[in-house]
Symmetry: C2
Subunit: 252 residues, 2 copies
């Protein structure tokens, strides 16, 4: 089955300035893994119309899906809708569905209403992404899905998007109290044996002891288990028993 | 004074799969802000030689500095040194300084030593980045600085790099218990008045109340203070007093 790929664009000066620690990519990646969609690319973009538009136009042709976060609120620095319209060469239009929701929500001063109606502007031809939190409205145009940057709102939006699914990206892992160098050779042999399994080696230090977490990632559980077992046997030959084994068959 | 720009490349399949939450960009951005170096671009890359090499070759011409994190350990998935060598079209060489440090460090089995010596290979012509933690060795080639992905090791490496400095990127901010829509119009006017100040508006919800954090970012403190004051006066006219004011003159 063909691998479905995606690119995540994380939009906002605050991510590049260090004011805010990025906190959506991990959630998006895990959610997409379950659908069999792999995040192949992720970029953090400043609040600059042309940069966003140019990047969108590169990645929407390269990947099956593009997901953006951030920049869809009511203030001057929320320029994602304008930038997506620029990328597709279409005008922004007032979406009547969103506009009527905003108008009916509460009694608000006229000036505030004008600002809030900025969030009702979507590129011509866009469909809406449901947002039950009542916050800013997401939308999509072709394969580009535009979502909020606020984590709680993003988490309400993403699961409502219907995504073409493929075989889920699964993983299993083990941890061993052995430095990476000590098992590097064995891991290399396992990787050569199982080329369809993506094997990652991640060092850790815990209570003053050095260890390695080995992650096996792929779409075929039989292959994952075989690579896992080959690694475990090699570790036992080295005199080290894994201190933990994890089979997260729904987390990539 | 010319703005110095940089790009940060965050390398590792684990960041794209969601296994690991990225945790270096914020630290790097804050560190560089103090030096007057702005992070203009950041990308998360998979462990794929050609992707890393191609990206490095695009961004090293576009920005003054490129900083990479991750992929310099001893295992098969540590391919950053190879990828940088590929980008520059130079071979990998065994660096005698690193090699002798590794050989002299402890008495280790021959197979482990071979693996650990992988970390002594750097692209021809590279200079070394000091690493007092004893972990993997960083290096630089022209304007590309290659660092570890483990946060504690990265934090030991980055401050040792001599970076051309410019006017620091500074910020001040205020928080007000008013939703973004209510101050969007006023903020827009302030932004139009102070085009050299980057004004960010970030909604928050705390104890069930909605508020907005407004951040003023730039290199000229007089302009930052003036934009801050214009905003504060506008908020007072709206009947809202800022609940906090922060002048972090060394945090961007």
């Amino acid at each position: 089955m063909k691998q479905i790929t995606s690119c995540v664009l994380l939009i906002g000066n605050e991510l590049l300035s260090g004011r805010t620690r990025e906190s959506n990519l991990q959630y998006i990646a895990k959610h997409l893994n379950k659908k069999g969609v792999r995040v192949a690319d992720a970029r953090v973009l400043p609040d600059v119309h042309q940069t966003i538009a140019d990047t969108v136009n590169v990645v929407r042709k390269k990947y099956d899906y593009v997901f953006t976060t951030g920049g869809i609120g009511p203030t001057h620095d929320d320029i994602t809708a304008e930038s997506i319209a620029l990328a597709f060469g279409v005008p922004l239009e007032l979406n009547e569905t969103i506009a009527s929701r905003i108008k009916s929500s509460t009694s608000i001063p006229a000036s505030t209403l004008t600002n809030r109606l900025r969030m009702a502007r979507v590129p011509q031809g866009a469909g809406l992404i449901e947002n039950l939190t009542g916050g800013p409205q997401g939308f999509y145009l072709e394969n580009v899905y535009v979502m909020a940057g606020i984590p709680s709102v993003l988490r309400a939006m993403l699961p409502t998007i219907e995504i073409a699914t493929s075989t889920p990206v699964l993983s299993c892992s083990l941890e061993v109290l052995l430095g990476e160098s000590h098992l590097a050779h064995e891991l290399d042999l396992v990787q050569q044996t199982f080329q369809k399994v993506e094997i990652g080696s991640y060092p850790f230090s815990r209570d003053g002891e050095f260890g390695t977490s080995v992650v096996f990632r792929g779409t075929d559980t039989d292959l994952l288990i075989a690579a896992f077992e080959m690694t475990k046997q090699a570790l036992l030959r080295l005199g080290s028993h894994p201190m933990s084994e994890t089979f997260d068959w729904d987390i990539g």
